[in-house]
Symmetry: C2
Subunit: 190 residues, 2 copies
């Protein structure tokens, strides 16, 4: 609600994504926000709560996209629309996605990360279903992990690429990567 709480959320998200959850101390977050550590713990009762607040919107958004996707047949038109939505999602929530991809496995005991891992699993399930070959699984993994890596390393290297050009390139590359999977999911051809 207050600006301090929102500031803390944004700062924590950026630090968690770039430096890592374990490597980011509450003192560091407080320092960046111009507050004391106690104030951080006033707005968020624990470090874990802060992580949850930081990543929950991204999980909710991705869940909504998946629900919408599961509500009807996977026609080519829907496939294309989904890819656009997915790219927008990755662009808007690149820090959160990077956090899930890079630190998800090492934060399994945190409930909100489990929710995120479930969403990733649902997404993988939709693309590769149960009959996915090894190459299909790898195409999906490379697309997801690769997109997350490239987008967040932009932050880390300090410069920001023009967003519309980035989006167009991402749609091109992901469409190319996932095309065989999407076709197989639609007509299940060998």
């Amino acid at each position: 609600m207050s600006t301090s709480a929102d500031d803390l959320r944004a700062i924590a998200l950026a630090e968690f994504a770039t430096a890592g959850y374990a490597a980011t101390s509450l003192h560091r977050i407080a320092e960046l926000a111009g507050l004391s550590k106690s104030s951080v713990l006033y707005h968020y009762s624990s470090k874990e709560t802060l992580l949850e607040a930081a990543v929950a919107p991204a999980i909710d958004r991705m869940t909504a996209i998946l629900d919408e996707l599961a509500s009807g047949p996977f026609t080519p038109a829907r496939r294309s629309a989904f890819l656009d939505e997915f790219v927008d999602f990755i662009l808007q929530y690149r820090r959160e996605v990077n956090l899930f991809i890079n630190q998800g496995p090492s934060l399994v005991d945190v409930p909100v990360i489990d929710r995120a891992n479930e969403v990733v699993y649902r997404l993988a399930e939709h693309f590769a279903a149960t009959t996915g070959s090894i190459e299909e699984k790898m195409r999906f993994g490379i697309a997801l992990g690769g997109a997350a890596y490239t987008l967040c390393s932009q932050d880390e290297f300090g410069f920001a690429l023009p967003i519309d050009e980035t989006r167009a390139a991402l749609v091109t590359i992901l469409t190319e990567l996932l095309a065989p999977i999407a076709v197989a999911g639609l007509v299940n051809q060998e």
Copy 2:
């Protein structure tokens, strides 16, 4: 030299790659090796030394591949041979590569990681040169980050895919992803 030192190196590498360098304590490594924390510090004088021992072979190998690549013109035959070598490298050193990709930016103060980041930069330079478009940069990033993600999440999910099939799929996908860049690097066509 001794088996303890090698065991520690292997255990530390696996833990650093999956749980993260900051999140892995010397006590944890010692526990997995069946030793005391003091014994770990007997074989490696610090946690940073242990990290260096764990990742140095991968950096040396990648440096050698890049030196060889820079020693002559980038003919199609060399391009194909390089891709094979590169895929073998990623497969053999998947834990190290995953560590560089995921934690490189957050470990900039560690000298050996700086060496790794330099190697990644040399690699990127070779592919995208100075004229690389945004899409070319992203193709390279997705290939590298995506391959590292898919290979290491295999470890994390507990099962290992057949290696020859994995290698074949990886060559196919990376060739497809990097083809436009390699061609541009050779003849610099628009």
